[in-house]
Symmetry: D3
Subunit: 318 residues, 6 copies
């Protein structure tokens, strides 16, 4: 039995090395990449929880490539292998300011887009302490909207805490579609993580970040609401109180997965009994470390995160 | 106006370096790859012909990446840019005996799969000396079966010689489907290139290679039939005579595109007025050189090909 | 017919990867590099203009390598192929502060150094809207001083606007030589681009940048004078008015070609009818993007440049 | 519970790319490498068995690196983490004839060298169908000689079949030491794998390979003896009969791990109920495929191995 | 005869490229790395001194790899080749803030750990102007504590100036051990270089950096004491006066070896007769340049260092 | 004093990796490459001789790059540094049959082309046991024809044995020019090495290889004549006897430098007193090993060469 179970699509990410452009590269770096597997890995590394990622993949070298990489990072995988549907991929160009990091999705007709709740192991989900998915999953297909709803319901029925990252992706759907779909899922969610920008632009909630957190927490009956603010840190609403934590200074090598690192660490520390301010602190430190590491995944140890929290600032450790 | 116009899908080919397996690689080599663009490039390099490749691609960095690489190799491109449909890709694992080279297609729902003949420049095709496509094109979608038929017809009407490589791909369709579809195209084709294996296994023609060539030539009213035999060379039936040419010894770095190099060179030399045996000789030499070069494309000069024909065998040229 | 024609030397640039030193590297990155081809590419990408780069190159794999790369970037090339003369090369070491970027030229006895005006296609130049070259060209040989003069004259006679980047290179000639030679070309030039530092140190003009622009514009009868100031932005004198534009914040991956990106974009926007302040804005944004991209060339789209202008500052676009 | 449990040292292997020499390289390829983990992986891939590799490693990023890679290949790992002792490493230079592949061990004072039988999970071993180790393990330290003996005993007591690869390494000990130590282990072993050369040179057994197999089988009371002969194939003595199988033709990319691939496949097929000749056939085919793949590990599928057995010889599969 | 002789361990440094983590890399960059060879190289490059590095290494491809790289950098090497003992290695992970650069030593049981003074060439040391070693050497083994003491004594007896970098490494020994051992060496040392942090935390000296320098200089009878302060610059106490110099602004590519670059340059300039403030200035400029260069070694020329001192700030030199 | 002194040009060699074509590569491998430095290195490695390579190079990072690499390989260098003249370079494309290895020289106007004998250290040459140069040196400029003659004379006068590799390069001069120039040098040469092909095609000598050796030896008053035959081995004429030795089987990674490896080993073994047949054997074995190693240089040990001679054929040494 796993303590944390996450559900969602993990893609193959293809990116030119050394800030090159896609039109100018003969080489691509290949990595497994998905919000839900990122969170599973961060959660497992930051606490005593064991994580399992569950999904549906094509039974091909590409699907197996995804699982091999996730296994390397130490989590369990529970995969429905399919003879139909593609492996999702995305192309990513890294660029500093003002170029920015650019994502080109090629995730149509994937195996997961047809996944229904009954294909997955309900005991795994109901036996977990936390079940986690994100707003990306229902954005992928009408079937997955249903499936996400059903899996959240199953988790609730099993007494499993449900956690959800809003994760709005404008290259997948419009704000209106996202709002309509995701707010329907809110009643089934205990812990919501949402970017301040998404709360404002997709959910149309007004106010400064503290007000956003309050509004979301009180309006939708969540246990906990975390509002992330990028380089400005994050807030958490819990028991009608809002806690705030700044972001740690960081030299960014790869910004992808920062939010997932934060969320995984936050959930893991909460599971291990830390209070909300401490969990925020670990979340922020894990996120800062993630940005120094290439790839989607927070390949960190709990000791390293605690080094950041305690602000041990030696440049070279030897 | 171009002398050779080819039509078909060019994909992005993604291959692990150094014989690695897909499940074990963090890196992929990226190249433009398609039988029809390969033939266009080989034809341009082996004779005085100018080549244009025409196709339909998604208007995305991936589609533009394909065109950039083909431009680099020196041919003209005439592309219908589409807001719908994917860029076709394939994953390729290089492996020597007994592993073999393995291709994993990811070419569903591509932009080209919806291409209709009227989207393309009929003047370009009718102004050319040769119009070339392959049996891969109609394998890609029902629409493209129609389109291939129509483009061959348009070429005929314009007095353009039509050339066609049978190119059966078992990962795209069954032998029965291929036979049914492709033999319907035969009346519109002047020059047919076909692997002996495909003639036997897909068209169910019996006999040794010479008999295959005769049977095909006489039965379907082609002007020229070329039967390729891999490392055993190739034959050509023309004016009721069969000519034979062995393959040159070669150290294979990349076998993909060998047949296209042969065909492009054969067509270019015929266009420049060489007789069939000479064109076979250039085809075989270009194919042998291709195998020493990584990628799909025969990046050779006519002088190098002539060096092979004349069997200049110095190991180091300095 | 091309809208923009540029003339000058394009070299092969050889640079160690990852900030390594030449004495310590076993690997070099190879790219086509030349101010005039850089400008041609930037101009084509930023407006509706078609660009052609014209030059003289050795008929060798090295010369063909240059043309292949420029074709990849989408411009036309019109090359005089020569059996005499070398392919120019330069070695480049990337280094941040205080090391700086270091260039070691190996561009003696090149094919272009003997190029005379009559070897090039006068119709191409006279049919263009803009003819562009830089102060590097006449620095390369006495013959090229003559040739540059003659080509500017031919352009003028054809009614083609002449644009010129002063581009002083202290590793090629002394300030005195440069001043003597280049000021003789000024009467044939409509649009001058010059670094403030060169105006001060080579042309010995005093004053702040605004004064420099005024002095140059009024003294030499240019239509437009652009004075570039690196990270402090650029100014343009036109119709007796000076316009100013700051530089956009940028994370530099490769500073080479920044000025060429600016100039290409400025010329393209002017050609498309934008006023001088708007052209400055596009120039600055293209220059900022260029610095985030490895290589000499501004591999950008007009949409990306407009994103910078409109200060869309999302870190990740997905 | 695992079906196959293997015990031994897995090192980090450091090898220069592209046939470079150690003294001339600035780059090393890094891989997990150990006979017993290789066998575990091959066994898992070739049959229905689940494999676990058990060992002792330093609790460091290097030890964790080993486990991460083995997890990637899909097996379970059961590791005793130690605060004492090094991670074993070896440097490997690839070279074709006459240079040969050269191994430089740096495996002194490793964590495993102090491992005692009681540190490991006896239930894991006694619950398995097969327990496997090799002659490398007792060569590493006097403690490990004891430990190997005790673990074989424990397996026997649990009713687990014991399999052992003789694997003499002349850079670790002398033939005399090896013979003395390893023959003491023979009574506890059911299935012995041994190279013909080692039987001759270390055990001083005379005769042709068939005689060697007979002598070993009858003299030491093994159930099965496999005698491997490199490119000449392998023989197996079982039920007083000797079976022979040739080696498949192969283009070698990396010869390391060939024997382990053979052994893993042989054991897996025997476990699944195949007879000895069939298991030899799978062993030989897996070994041939292994040589086409870089690294120590046979990253193959059962389908690919069966393709070799059935001699499907298409050069390109597409 | 060499002017500068340094003595200490040079290891092979193994580091993942591109900020990757050890657990996630398949590739390592390999370099020779040691404080004393770093100082020898910097000293040779910054003045007229010839440098020799002396040490003990295993007679293996790994030991020869170290010497080959040091020869490449232009210094002489005088090595005692040993059949016993390992080649020291360390693994290094580069990481920006807050991750930091992490060193994992694998330097136990090395050849040098058994080195005794009489194995080395006493004439070489006594014929030099400066003999240099660091506090790392005696940290490596009890034998080396003796040896370091004896070699400093021999140098003194020969009239050779002795210079010593305190270089406390917490992964090698405790502050108490270091203090006890190193202060016993102080009477034999003329020039001490020490980080302010080490003076405070290991030697338990109070006060601001100026006070530290004064205390150290007066208390232990050194000729010169240099106190380094990282990005805050360095101070030198000499003739009862303290001189101060700030650090130059620098874009760090590799921080390892910064202090060694400083020390080598300082010693070289002092040897060439520069006064202490000038030597500090060269030390600081060499250190700043070092940080822009990958690897342990300051691959700079004196001209480049002087360019930093004179604050020539052109971004591109061409 | 060195035992072997060699004189000639060492270039920077630039080659695309992985069999890529120059027109298709963005990356080049960089190495020092020259027949005379290759011979110096092979000679030093195969015997007890110390080698020095002497030459003239530009005082630039490129010239220093050459020396750094030669120092890495362990020989001494005695370089005349010049402010005039280029660093010679060549581009190399590796290709198997039928493509062949192609060399594109860019070695005009080099620093060495103006080198006169009096610029070099005559004591170095006259103090050596062997002075060696090749037919490439006089092919580089008229000045060097004179210089080569003068240096051979100086060596003779000093009692130094003179050795010379004919090394005809058709991309540098015609057979007629080569014959005229080189035969004039013959009277000053003791040991001549020449390819059978060059003896036939350039010197117009008839006969089978044994006859060639006899004719050359008797006609020109050499002490020893070695006739090399590529994969067919080599012969040596000495004391009016011809000795023959076949080539060892080898898997070629890089054929460049094969002859130099042979010659260096032959000379080193002769210097150490081996008879001619033994020296031929070492030459052939060194040449065979060289072909398995990338780069121009025979990075081998004497032990490895002796392993080839004794035909130790274990595939993996561990």
């Amino acid at each position: 039995m796993s303590d944390v179970v996450t559900f969602g699509e993990t893609m193959l990410r293809l990116s030119p090395p050394d800030h090159r452009r896609l039109e100018d590269t003969d080489e691509l770096e290949l990595r497994a990449a998905g919000a839900e597997s990122n969170v599973a890995i961060a959660a497992q590394r930051l606490g005593s929880a064991d994580s399992t990622w569950t999904s549906k993949l094509p039974d091909s070298p590409l699907g197996r490539r995804v699982v091999a990489e996730l296994n390397k990072y130490g989590i369990e995988t529970d995969v429905v292998w399919s003879d139909e549907g593609r492996q999702g991929t995305y192309y990513l160009e890294h660029g500093g300011k003002p170029r920015g990091t650019n994502v080109i999705y090629d995730r149509g007709n994937t195996a997961i887009s047809t996944a229904e709740a009954q294909e997955f192991d309900v005991d795994l989900i109901q036996g977990a302490d936390v079940f986690f998915t994100t707003g990306i999953t229902p954005a992928l297909s009408p079937t997955l909207r249903e499936t996400t709803m059903n899996m959240l319901k199953a988790a609730r029925q099993g007494g499993t805490t449900t956690a959800f990252d809003f994760n709005y992706r404008r290259k997948l759907w419009s704000p209106e579609e996202a709002k309509g779909t995701l707010t329907k899922l809110f009643p089934g969610i205990d812990v919501l993580v949402i970017a301040a920008r998404d709360a404002q632009n997709v959910l149309d909630i007004d106010g400064d970040p503290r007000q956003l957190a309050h509004t979301l927490g009180s309006q939708f009956d969540f246990t906990t609401v975390v509002v992330t603010r990028g380089s400005k840190g994050a807030l958490a609403w819990h028991d009608n109180t809002v806690y705030d934590h700044g972001a740690y200074e960081t030299e960014t090598v790869d910004p992808i997965g920062t939010g997932d690192a934060f969320t995984g660490a936050f959930l893991a520390r909460r599971l291990d009994g830390d209070d909300v301010p401490t969990a925020l602190e670990y979340g922020a430190a894990t996120a800062a470390l993630k940005r120094t590491i290439p790839g989607d995944v927070a390949l960190v140890t709990r000791e390293e995160v605690e080094g950041v929290v305690s602000e041990d600032d030696e440049e070279i450790s030897r």
